[in-house]
Amino acid sequence: MSEPIFYGAGFPYRQIEDLPGKLVVLEGSDGVGRSTQTQLLRHWLEDEGFAVSDTGLRRSEITQKGLEDARKGHTLSRITMSLFYATDFADRLENQIIPALQAGFIVLSDRYFYSVMARDIVRGADPAWARQLYGFALKPDLTLYLKADVTDLVSRLIHGRGLNYWESGMDISPHNNLYDSFMDYQSKLIDSFDQLSSEFNFIQVDAAQPVMDVFAELRTHIQNLLEDQQPILEEDF
């Protein structure tokens, strides 16, 4: 990234100079393996001598506690939820992501506003409203979309951290159990992601492959992006 490009008005009150860093986004459904890949990528990039900063949903200092409490209490109505998450995202963008890019870091973002928007739309938000809401968002250098189908997701989660209320869309569910609700909700989310995919230039990566194969594929895409940057040559001791 050199000259920052925003999807809308950006931050009009703030002069943002060129950003020498790179913004790499990992998108994909719940349980698709994003955090594992983020960790692998981070180690690899640091090994190559790049400074890396990572960020993910709900990590804003402002909203973290409030959002956790609201999720625990299951008291978020639709528009309220959209806006609360947008606050979290805006705070991290202005106070974390942009400063890191200014300092020349590679920022690995575990999800971006695309996920949040996909969820909002599945919950009935007006798509035009949601797009304009994120008019302050910075266009990433690269968005890698880890794609898996819903049967794959459910088996990963059941053998992993389990199914939870929000990831199963229980707040909007007509079903009486997490499983049916999960299948229904996550299928809709995947459809919603697929629609965003071409609009926002996602690069699709098949998440059903073994972890190290996914990692290799992600690495190749990031290497292409970093082509203009000199890798550190290993010196002999």
């Binding site: 809308g8 008005a9 931050f11 009009p12 009150y13 703030r14 200092e61 402002i62 909203t63 506690k65 409030g66 959002l67 409490d69 609201a70 008291t75 978020l76 109505s77 639709r78 528009i79 309220t80 959209s82 806006l83 609360f84 947008a86 606050t87 805006a90 705070d91 202005e94 106070n95 409203w129 304009q132 809401l133 008019g135 302050f136």
Partner: protein, 243 residues
């Protein structure tokens, strides 16, 4: 442009800069409507319990930027909108709001966010049946604020904008910008202007006149015999406190 209110309820809101006297007026209106036997619900700006601790934390640590300030206040509004204001309107209640989306259109734009962007944020809200703008010269507002209250707070005075090191001076410059934004909104959102430098009683007479006109021939949610306002009042007492 906000969508027309097609609910059975009535939405009445007041706007104006700090010290314009709007809260006094809506409080008097609220009590008057109750004695008239109407079902009334009152909602105050920035009073959602869901967002309260988050706002408090961010203000205390001065973490807000114009964008996050705007988004969090809209979150607060959305919570009140989805869980209180809209349900009340659908039930046929008169909803009184001390400040509305126009406060955000004034303050957030004064802080530098994009005018169109913030209008889109609040586009889920309905156009009030009555929107009264208490217009008052800046000097009078400042006099009222500084004599009635101890100290201007950081964000209230717009200190985050670095307009001046003096809180009073910063407040003045900030409110001036907000006044300009309000003036733009008079036609855009059909605001009814009341001169906020008139006496309290004279203003209230005008307010009641406007409200009477609007409610002529209208029937709201009936109040069950024997228990006037009990539930609505309980909610108000739980919600007041933030500004």
């Amino acid at each position: 442009m906000l969508e027309k209110n097609n609910t059975p309820g009535k939405l009445i809101i007041v706007e104006g800069i700090d010290g314009s006297g709007k809260s006094t007026q809506i409080d008097l209106l609220y009590k008057w409507l109750q004695t008239q036997g109407q079902s009334v619900y009152f909602s105050e700006w920035n009073s959602s319990g869901l967002v309260k601790s988050t706002t408090k934390l961010a203000k205390k640590r001065k973490l807000f930027t114009p964008t996050t300030f705007s988004l969090l206040q809209c979150t607060d509004f959305a919570d009140r909108w989805e869980n209180r204001i809209l349900p009340m309107l659908k039930a046929g209640v008169i909803v009184l709001a001390d400040r509305y989306a126009f406060t955000a259109f004034g303050r957030d734009v004064a802080r530098g966010v994009d005018r169109k962007w913030v209008r889109n944020l609040y586009s889920f809200a309905l156009q009030p049946d009555i929107a009264i703008y208490f217009r008052v010269p800046l000097d009078i507002a400042i006099q009222r604020i500084t004599s009635a209250r101890a100290k201007l707070k950081y964000y209230e005075a717009g200190m985050d904008l670095n307009l001046s090191d003096s809180r009073i001076q910063s407040f003045k410059l900030f409110q001036e910008r907000i006044l300009n934004e309000y003036d733009r909104m008079v036609d855009e959102f059909n605001l009814t202007i009341i001169d906020g430098s008139l006496t309290v009683q004279a203003q209230q007479r005008l307010v009641r006149e406007i409200v009477k006109q609007e409610l002529k021939g209208w029937k709201g949610l009936p109040i069950p015999e024997g228990s006037p306002h009990v539930r609505l009042q309980a909610e108000i007492s739980a919600e007041t406190g933030g500004r």
